[in-house]
């Protein structure tokens, strides 16, 4: 097991959060002029940019064209300076390819794909600083960018990474000790790399439906339900933050356009 405890005796995490607390999310829509939709999202120290182009004509080979739905093309890229050790390749390595395909699968479920047959939507995400929950931050940023681009979604798709930490050795609460592992919502890099099981969930938050769920490490079946519940609650909390940002953006961009015209 890891050399340090993920939870203190008081039930606080390394960065002082409680187990069900998210990191501070700061986000902004419409940050760039070139893409059709763009967003910047900070989740604690994880900083992500997302840009959406489309829907537009299929680029490249016509063979990729789908007759009944839009083609969703995602690219996940990590800046070489985003991690502690310099990354050799910003994209194209196996991890990035996996991330790209996970993003595509997630957004194919969230976008109303049937509305744009024979077209293509590009979603590009760039991680500028990585501090855990990279996939989650990318999903959340890309959702905002899609909203900014005006692409119809079924509902917000949000994501949350959860780590199951062993309970502190000397717990202040005996009941908690019996419950076993404690789910830590919105894990940071140190929590992710501690060797404990990780559960990544992307969900349509309003209806509570799962879109993508990935478990790393061995996890006892008994723990699964509770961890999933916590992760879903995390997704709903993220959704509330994103919703507020969208409403705020819409209220303000209406004012600035009215003032300039």
């Amino acid at each position: 097991m890891a050399g340090f405890d993920l939870l203190s005796d008081q039930g606080l995490r390394l960065d002082g959060r409680r187990s069900n607390e998210l990191r501070k999310i700061q986000c902004k829509l419409g940050v760039f002029s070139q893409p059709d939709g763009s967003s910047y999202l900070e989740q604690g120290n994880t900083k992500v940019l997302a840009a959406v182009y489309g829907p537009h004509e299929i680029r490249g080979s016509r063979a990729k064209r789908l007759l009944d739905q839009v083609l969703v093309n995602c690219q996940y890229s990590m800046a070489t300076f985003s991690t502690g050790e310099r990354k050799r390749r910003p994209r194209g390595d196996r991890k990035s390819q996996e991330m790209s395909s996970h993003l595509r699968q997630t957004f194919e479920a969230a976008i109303k794909t049937e509305l744009y047959p024979r077209s293509q939507i590009d979603i590009f995400v760039e991680v500028l600083q990585a501090d855990g929950g990279n996939y989650s931050a990318c999903v959340n940023a890309a959702t905002l960018a899609l909203v900014d681009a005006g692409i119809p979604l079924h509902e917000y798709v949000t994501s949350c990474t959860t780590v199951l930490a062993p309970p502190p050795a000397t717990s202040w609460d005996d009941e908690k000790l019996e419950e076993g592992e404690i789910a830590l919502v919105d894990a940071s890099h140190r929590e992710e790399t501690s060797g404990s099981p990780t559960l990544t969930v992307a969900a349509l938050a309003d209806s509570g439906r799962l879109v993508l769920c990935q478990v790393g490490q061995r996890l006892h079946l008994d723990r699964m339900n509770r961890a999933l519940e916590r992760a879903l609650q995390g997704c709903k909390d993220v959704r509330d933050v994103l919703d507020e940002a969208v409403r705020d953006h819409l209220a303000n961009c209406g004012i600035s356009e009215a003032a300039s015209s």
């Binding site: 760039f32 690219q75 070489t80 590009d122």
Partner: protein, 272 residues
């Protein structure tokens, strides 16, 4: 109506504006766009800066690594600039290996570092023939709206100014290295400043062009000035320039230096 006109006759649209000595974004022909600079924005990098020139945004992150110097230059470290024009920044760029434009830009940035002598690579050497620093300077274009080279040079210089390297001890007998916690700021010897002009219709010069203007222009010229001296002039083909036009470009590049340096100094002061 204006939007349709612009789409159907982009060149005529621009020409109509220029006939009245004004550009589509409301600037005069030789006016620059406002700039914004934020330094130390990425804490995982050893030095970083985010630059906005109008809508063009470039972020620079610098990572330092240890390596062995080259055999022919045993007392020098390395600087490796890399410009990335990702498909995120504009619909012009496609996913895949770096485009020709990105590779040319990387080489341009490297040449500017070399010509201006802004960093003495001998300072990056720790133990001759054994140990030296490599500074990987990655410049990622986040929004491509013209004059990207200007933004790249500005981001690079601002980021280099924030770099501090840890002290390293080398044990000759055991050939082991120990990295200490004390950090020493990097010595910057000069501050090159780049200025781009676009040439439209073979005669009109536009300072600090946007992406639209660059696309319609018959050529561009980038002048880099360092410490009041010319350090690089780059004019990749296009329509020819007269000597007086060229002088004008160089003069405006020289005049711009003080405002750019002020911006860098203010940003550095406010972040430390």
């Amino acid at each position: 109506m204006a939007l349709q006109y612009k789409t159907i006759h982009p060149v005529k649209y621009l020409r109509d504006f220029l006939a009245h000595n004004v550009r589509p974004d409301g600037r005069g022909l030789l006016k620059f766009r406002p700039m914004a600079l934020n330094v130390r924005s990425i804490s995982s990098a050893d030095g970083s800066a985010l630059v906005k020139i109008g809508n063009t945004s470039v972020i620079c992150g610098i990572k330092a690594e240890l390596a062995t110097p080259k055999a022919e230059e045993p007392d020098r470290g390395f600087i490796v600039p890399n410009v990335e024009l990702s498909p995120l920044s504009s619909s012009k760029f496609r996913p895949g290996p770096p485009s020709e434009e990105a590779q040319v830009a990387s080489q341009f940035v490297f040449d500017v570092i070399l010509n201006s002598g802004c960093i003495d690579t001998k300072c990056l050497c720790i133990v001759p023939d054994k140990l030296a620093w490599v500074l990987y300077c990655d410049l990622v274009c986040l929004n491509y709206d013209g004059s990207v080279l200007d933004a790249c040079i500005l981001a690079l210089m601002a980021a280099l100014n924030t770099v501090s390297l840890p002290e390293v001890e080398y044990d000759h007998e055991k050939s082991t290295t120990t990295v200490k916690t004390e950090r020493v700021p990097l010595k910057i010897l000069s501050m090159p400043v780049s200025t781009t002009h676009a040439i439209f219709d073979d005669e009109v010069l536009l300072a600090d062009p946007t992406c639209e203007e660059e696309d319609l222009a018959s050529g561009t010229i980038t002048v880099v000035v360092s410490e009041g001296k010319l350090c690089s002039v780059w004019k990749p083909g296009g329509s020819p320039l007269t000597e007086s036009q060229m002088d004008g470009c160089v003069d405006r590049a020289k005049n711009r230096v003080s405002s750019v340096l002020d911006l860098i100094n203010t940003a550095l002061k406010s972040s430390s």
